[in-house]
Subunit: 223 residues, 2 copies
């Protein structure tokens, strides 16, 4: 399939409601994927929906998800199974003058595709590296890489990124004209995730200072 | 169905992997549900899984979800459809000495059930109140309630809480014995969501101070 800058709209990714909030550009979608920590993977198990939170990473136009949490998906490792993956970043609360116009600011991505278990060792290692570097760049080079046995125990699923869309909302409330006269505080409360002070493992045998890749990212988050 | 303090384990909620991380007590599950802001709802649309993030609220043993985001679910409003709802709170990063033992601290709930559209006006209002009070207690009483037209436009789905489980991980890393000798920083980086300074809607006609229910919750979050 030819790679395009924008994902092609499909029946499933086309937004029926508030289409102005929808985006199909790879750059926008990938930025959201790269900022999130966990995804929610949906699949069908004997006609029933199952949703499971799990770690993920992206390598170019490929999404990798950690398979351990989704072991039920893996009954049949040989065949690709349809999945839907959602990543949602909550950016704030939108407080309007009426309940009806209350909302949230967010950026979210929904991906439709098929997941298949990665067997190739090199690809598996690349996927695991993407899980790690995506959450904490620099960590991979600092710690012990997975050995053969660990690699074998770890299930990784590959989902080619072919059908995806993003949705986002930002800014303050949009109230009914007649409600602006109401004496109520209205606006936006930004929300963000910040790291607290790192807690050193009490079982540590050495006094190792907090690595710069961690203190840097913490400074950036807390700024 | 008799109400029990614990959810009864089912084939779907029984944890095969790391069963020590699983909980079935209503209190634990409800505390997680009450702390989260958004849920991910999974359903099956023509044999394919769909996952959508949306707002929710809980009233006793009933979960309510906002239906607008899931309008595709509502093709047949008359019948209940199977859903899976996941709520995940990310509490921190777990940095081990080996990639393999890296993890996340989290609390998550997965609910299996059937969703049906709420038609009764009083129940709908109660559900909308739960969406609002759950995110920002005190807000409901301060703003204009939904009128008849708004109530009609808002889709709310009811999911009785009958089959659910929680999973959680906390604390530092658990490394392989031989890895403790490695000179690498290991431990836990707590993560939390904090509110930023509220941004007043520039369209406001009145100078209204930030209400105490908002400043109180902000102080608590930032403490």
């Amino acid at each position: 399939m030819k790679r395009t800058t924008e994902f092609v709209l499909t029946e499933r990714t086309k937004l029926k409601r508030l289409p102005k909030r929808a985006f199909y550009r790879r750059k926008i979608i990938y930025d959201i994927l790269d900022e999130g920590f966990i995804c929610h993977v949906g699949f069908v198990d004997r006609d029933h929906p199952v949703v499971i939170p799990t770690a993920y990473g992206r390598v170019a136009d490929m999404l990798y998800i950690h398979g351990s949490a989704a072991s039920r998906m893996l009954r049949s490792l040989a065949t690709a199974i349809p999945v839907c993956v959602a990543v949602t970043l909550v950016d704030g609360l939108v407080l309007a003058r009426s309940i009806f116009h209350h909302s949230m600011n967010y950026r979210s991505v929904v991906i439709f595709g098929t997941a298949i278990a990665v067997k190739d060792k090199k690809e598996k290692l690349r996927a695991l590296r993407s899980f790690s570097e995506h959450v904490l760049p620099g960590r991979w080079a600092d710690v012990r890489e997975p050995n053969k046995g660990e690699l074998k125990q770890t299930l990784v699923l590959r989902i080619p990124l072919r059908e995806a869309s993003a949705k986002s909302r930002s800014g303050g409330p949009m109230d009914e004209k007649s409600d602006y006269r109401l004496r109520v505080w209205a606006g936006e409360v930004p929300l963000r995730i910040i790291p607290g002070t790192p807690i050193r493992d009490p079982r540590s045998e050495h006094e190792v200072p907090i690595p710069s890749y961690l203190s840097n990212i913490m400074a950036r988050f807390r700024a």
